[in-house]
Symmetry: C2
DNA sequence: GATTTTACATACAGTCTGGACGGTATCCAT
DNA sequence: ATGGATACCGTCCAGACTGTATGTAAAATC
């Protein structure tokens, strides 16, 4: 008892924590209830905060969604980055990368939130712009890592990079349809096939011991909720 | 003037036409306004019919959506079938197939309706079941055509078939993200890359002059609206 | 031609949503 | 310590949506 009176948080701290709770609840809600099902009331209920808190930090629903999208892409970016760094094995680097990407990113509930945002962005111009900017950024950041870990065989560097872009398309397509298909083994067979196909035009570089050049950290995290 | 009194339509005719109008309006609405934006009121407005007509034919929103999904998959199935039959050229059969599939199916607004249903089916069990059944059926129907037109090189027949399944995933992924990317040329380069990759493990069969065995027509169109 | 069934139309009820508003607590600059 | 800014709260409101209930005309059945 007599818990230390918990030094009052500073304004900035309070704001940050509140926004964090809201964003987490929003992404959770997107994943579980979909875009349309994510009403402001349901989100604040999930976050355990009041309706007023939300409206204070985000003037309208779109602002909240934009910030959530921002947060999600940033999160996924980090996750994929760590994943790349964790791949040490140089023999089946490709296979393990694909498997891990599916297992740890694209098959997770959190990625369903991304699917929702993606589809919603077909109609929401602002959302599309936000995603567009971030995606471009992500691609630019990963390109060096690709060349760091892999090299083309009988193919151009452009093809090498394009192949990984295709991987993301493939995984997105898989993620949005996997629930209609059967089992994990079936998915695995497709992941394997992709790896084998990719191995026809690329291989892991030998003797890579250093992680790829750390890209600059994710750019400023400002310019979010405001538009 | 004195227009012929337009022989009153039979009940079945009236029902069929009304349902057709509703389904068309629904798919259009899905494509333009998304799943959540497709309210019953907006759909009947678009179809130019009364609210009562809709409720008469479809007891609730889900029934309408299920039938629309049914209709869409059937439509796409036919379209892809004709597309396969129209590919005569045996040299770059693969390239032309991929291009045509993108151009005539996956990049169309109608396919956006499918994306919407796909995402919605993540949460709607009934919708998922409906799509699942139809997809399985489609795959089974196309499998013979694949072997009719293509043969594997240094690969198994299973890989051949799996490769076309991957094509569908790739195209779905592309369709849901293309609006975030740049231009048509960029898309084209990815279609080309896919064709080149596929060509590494398959080729068009020589001297194929006959169309593939016509699968039985699409099964009965009953068991739709009711659940 | 009478009656039953089907197709369509209109009005209404209940629920929910997003945003607005007025008020309170907490923090910060001076 | 005090006045102003910032964070947070609960409620209300106008609109929209779905499903239902009720009414009418056309077709099918006998």
């Amino acid at each position: 008892m007599t818990a230390s009176p918990r030094p009052r948080r500073t304004q900035a701290e309070r704001s940050d924590q509140m926004r964090q709770r809201l964003l987490e609840a929003t992404l959770q809600s997107l994943a579980e209830d979909g875009y349309a099902g994510s009403t402001l009331s349901s989100i604040v209920r999930r976050a355990g905060v009041s309706r007023g808190a939300q409206v204070h930090h985000y003037p309208n629903k779109q602002a909240l969604m934009l910030d959530a999208a921002e947060d999600l892409v940033r999160h996924t970016y980090r996750q994929l980055g760590e994943l790349l760094l964790s791949i040490k094995d140089e023999d089946d680097r490709l296979t393990r990368l694909v498997d891990a990407a599916w297992e740890q990113v694209f098959s997770t509930p959190l990625f369903h939130a991304y699917s929702e945002l993606l589809i919603a962005s077909l109609r929401d111009q602002d959302l599309a712009e936000a995603l567009k900017g971030r995606l471009k950024l992500v691609q630019g950041v990963y390109a060096p890592a690709v060349e760091h870990y892999f090299e083309p065989i009988n193919a151009s560097k452009a093809d090498l990079h394009a192949m990984f872009v295709q991987l993301s398309f493939f995984l997105v397509g898989l993620a949005t349809q996997a629930h209609l298909m059967n089992d994990r083994a079936w998915v695995q067979s497709h992941l394997d096939l992709w790896s084998r196909q990719a191995a026809l035009i690329m291989r892991a570089r030998k003797g890579v011991r250093q992680p790829p050049p750390r890209p600059d950290a994710w750019p400023r995290k400002d310019e979010a909720a405001a538009r």
